[in-house]
Symmetry: C2
Subunit: 611 residues, 2 copies
């Protein structure tokens, strides 16, 4: 008798039971999720790459041949060659050829098309008395092309010995010599990508050629001690002239600390990081560059610049190769930043004729809708509700946070990050809980949390969770001595946030002259967006009910990685930042009515998919 294994496919959550030893590609086909396999399943094209996120999957010879050690280490396999050895959770790339996104925010980058920098190895011929040519000029002769050089680069060049093999790093676009070292003592070289979020700074160190992730991680933005949200930080810079320098230093220190940690993780020395990119919302890029963000905080909300910029690492204060050029993403508008540009770059949301929408749920919500011929963006005052700041027992998605809530028979079932005692509720928990309580009839379509006496049709287990407290009605989500509660006012807060996002999207679609039904899909980006369950998002009306929703993970990080190593990606980022138009919701007369309409919840019984 043959063993039976269960394979769960993410992000959709489809499960199939298959006999042991079946190929994963076959299992996926049974789940209705056929893998792309242009080479016909011969392990040659890599089109069927998947990420095994739970369970053990042996590495096949074809994997070894086609995949990098770093990819292998993070669970990437060729689906066509993998014989399922046991229960597995497998993450599937959603578009053929698209970057592979893992829900934990570690996507791979596409292979580089026009590398930002090239490493070259040459032997510098000796000068002679008869031919007294400087090192820089002999280098140009050896390369057959002129080079640009800063004093930094000349210092490095001056440190190599003639007639020894030297390893150069040269900017592809303008021939700038970034650094030089004798091959024997040249550090391993890589690129770094940073996504400066208001709350979290993500970074990765990647291979210069293929964009392999060598190390990735995130850290709390040290600016949070100056204020949880963007506006409070901007206000600080207005009230206190010294605050700008402190905020800048905090951002740079966060990046520097991450760079040091990740460099140590992957064994790339800091001075081996010879190219980099930075993305983030406009306030974050202003602050990281030390540019006053005042205008972003006051009507009419305009920044000093949109970018792009290219800045020396030394001028930024990053502890990498001081002569490395750092590409700072351009913004679309004053509150639709380089992070959204990076999302668009990574997701290719505007790459074809089918309209799509993309919502980056960070501390602010940035929304873009459109297709390859036209696109519009807006930013909504979503506020930090999803990060817990405006929710009574809200908290970040950290240990102790309720992040999942489901109806389970006549009661709720909660998921707590880390598995221990619940300490609070994070954004996904807030959305899940509200969706479940809407389904159960504890919250009505207007957003009112019903008092116990009005909960006749609600199962008893659930009904006893509704309590009157000193600050109004609440639902007790966890038990024990310090229960976590969802308060009626929290639901109102969520309504405001989800309503403003839905109204923003509606405004964009109306301006584009298309309807929700025209959207091929809605992409949810951002560290938070990637954990939102699409069905819950639909249930509360955060996104329209009839549209396919796909979390794409921290796509801004992927975009930053692409631009860190690829000139074409940088050019595409610039093009996108100019291509996408901007709609200021505050200046649209119909927006208040749209917002009021969007604050209600969809009626019970509307179609809800698995969540």
């Amino acid at each position: 008798m043959t063993d039976v294994h269960v394979v769960r496919f993410l992000p959709s959550g489809e499960r199939v039971r298959i006999p042991a030893g079946m190929e994963l590609a076959e299992a996926a086909a049974r789940a209705g999720l056929p893998l792309e396999s242009p080479c016909g399943g011969r392990g040659r094209c890599g089109g069927c790459r998947v990420i095994v996120v739970a369970g053990d999957a042996p590495v096949t010879p074809a994997d070894r041949e086609r995949l990098s050690p770093a990819d292998l280490a993070r669970g990437v396999r060729l689906g066509c060659r993998l014989r399922v050895p046991g229960d597995l959770d497998v993450f599937l790339p959603s578009e053929p050829g698209a970057p592979i996104e893992k829900p934990d925010g570690e996507p791979a980058a596409r292979g580089s098309r026009l590398p930002a920098v090239r490493c070259r190895t040459i032997v510098l011929p000796r000068a002679t008395l008869a031919d007294q040519v400087t090192e820089a000029e002999r280098l140009e002769a050896a390369l057959g092309s002129p080079i640009r050089a800063t004093p930094e680069a000349l210092r490095a060049l001056g440190g190599v010995r003639e007639a020894h093999e030297i390893s150069l790093v040269i900017e592809t676009e303008d021939g700038e010599l970034v650094t030089a070292a004798e091959s024997g003592s040249a550090p391993r070289r890589a690129a770094a990508a940073f996504d400066i979020g208001t709350t979290t700074v993500s970074a990765s160190i990647i291979d210069l050629d293929g964009g392999e992730i060598l190390a990735a991680g995130a850290a709390l933005n040290r600016q949070v001690r100056f204020g949880a949200d963007v506006i409070s930080r901007i206000t600080r810079t207005i009230e206190d002239p010294a605050a700008l320098a402190s905020l800048r230093a905090a951002a740079i220190e966060t990046m520097a600390e991450l760079a040091r940690r990740l460099a140590a993780d992957c064994g790339v020395p800091l001075d081996g990081i010879v190219a980099a990119s930075i993305t983030g919302n406009p306030s974050m890029t202003h602050l990281a560059l030390g540019v006053p963000p005042r205008g972003l905080g006051l009507s009419p909300y305009v920044g000093v610049f949109r970018g792009p910029l290219t800045v020396k690492a030394s001028a930024l204060g990053l502890p990498v190769c001081s002569n490395a050029n750092v590409f700072v993403f351009p913004s679309i508008a004053s509150h639709v930043g380089g992070d959204m540009v990076a999302d668009l770059l990574a997701s290719r949301a505007l790459a074809d004729a089918r309209p799509r929408a993309i919502i980056d749920l960070g501390t602010n919500a940035e929304i873009v809708a459109g297709d390859r011929s036209r696109a519009l963006a807006c930013s909504t005052a979503a506020g930090p509700a999803f990060e817990g700041a405006t929710i009574r027992m809200g908290m970040r998605a950290a240990e102790g946070a309720i992040h999942r809530v489901d109806l389970n028979g006549d009661d709720l079932r909660i998921g707590v990050i880390g598995g221990g005692e619940a300490r609070g509720i994070c954004g996904t928990g807030l959305i899940d809980a509200t969706a479940a309580l809407l389904d159960a009839g504890v919250i009505d379509e207007t957003g009112r949390l019903l008092p116990p006496e009005d909960l006749d049709g609600v199962p008893a287990g659930l009904r006893t969770r509704v309590e009157r407290t000193a600050v109004g009605l609440a639902v007790r989500l966890s038990d024990g001595p310090d229960p976590v509660r969802l308060y009626a006012v929290d639901v109102r807060e969520l309504q405001l946030v989800k309503g403003s996002i839905a109204a923003g999207l509606g405004t964009l679609l109306a301006a584009l002259g298309i309807g929700e039904e025209d959207l091929a899909e809605i992409l949810l980006a951002g560290a938070f967006g990637s954990f939102v369950r699409p069905a819950s998002a639909r249930r509360i009306g955060l996104v329209p009910a009839g549209v396919s929703v796909r979390p794409i993970g921290n796509a801004a990080c992927t975009g930053a990685r692409l631009a860190a190593i690829d000139v074409e990606a940088r050019r595409e980022a610039v093009r996108l930042s100019r291509f996408v138009g901007y709609v200021e919701l505050a200046s649209r007369p119909e927006y208040p009515r749209r917002l009021a309409d969007a604050m209600g919840f969809p009626e019970r019984g509307a179609p809800v998919a698995e969540r």
Copy 2:
């Protein structure tokens, strides 16, 4: 009866006696030195500008109209309007339209042709909700052209208020925004020029438009504590890896200190210095940029780079506007540096069809000969003899130095800087003393200092000065308890130095296929060269006897000033650095014989002009 005044014209030294009240232009014509006066003497063209270096010359209304306050203060007058009020020493520009050079090394710059930076004043229109355009983009719209901006510039831009008049500094060539400030708080703006000599660093602060000198000065290069000459400093960097950073810091500190002092002198705040240039020999530019100069000290004597470079002031460490671009002069060859390029730029020595030679007598002697169609350069190991280092009682041209020596009846007459007790002898004193002693027959044509018993034809007063000392024969130049002496070995040292310069020039002329007689003139550049008396230089054979010699002052400073404010001057500097070929004397088989031939002194009775 009319008073009679004496006017002495420098640098030639011609004197005329004229009736009081005669116009200076007339006096110059009588002296055979007609002033250029394209406007016909109406005080309109400024072509007849002279510098009154001794005596009082009233400022005329025409002077006030045509000349800047700084020029007036340093004695510049329009020669066609000046009625001679008393005895005067007047310095004449030697070429029509050429920069006016004062022998004390404070030449004026030519008016700028294509300004390196432009100051513009605009009012930035307010942004509105209906037109949310960033400040940088509104600035571009207001200027009608794209701007480039570093984070520094964006910081400055972010500090100005909308709808206020702002004062911008923009690089002319590439539209880079250097800085911005509200007009009310904008600093007075200027440029700085630096000439980094091995011994002395000269600097000036100049007006951005006309190149007026607002302040000028010099300081001892703080690198001297690492060694008096270039080679000893290079050696330090080879022996001690930390020395390069120390040498760099010493050069930058010297420049920074000068900049602070001069800025205070003229009331321009340091952050108002928005453009700059640096010239110097290749070793100095390597060290100032922190680029290893190792190759310059070892055969085959090649540096890391020739330049030009443009570097941010902040990257250099200069305490001026941190976003100012600093133009670093290109070199001609590894030991013929940006200082010679600046000499050529300022003197226009290669501007026409008449061949000229130019000798920059710094710590090293750099020589260029040629005309507008062809030119060659060489560098001679002149060594620091002229700065006193290899002369037994040598010293720099500072207080207490014997700087002039003449035959006076049957004895010598010496001039001591500061007028007090003589403490040593500087380069001009060395040349003068040798010339005088050759004339008197105390030194013979082979360079031998004759013993007292062989001095029969020499006047007694002079003969008693020749003494036998523990280190050989010497001539006592000054009296008193601690007499200053010129030793026989010093004359040998001078022979080597002047011989190598003469042999270098001879080698260049031979390579060009021309003779000494084809030279229109020989220009002596450098702080030292400007004080050498042409007749003494001819007498000792430093320059050929039959050629006109003209000291042009510290022309490298003038060239640096031109390039600090003028893009055309920078382009011309680059062109000159590529145009002039290089001859390595050490690789020329005929050089040793030429040197041996050139070490002797010209015979007595050769024609000697006034000195």
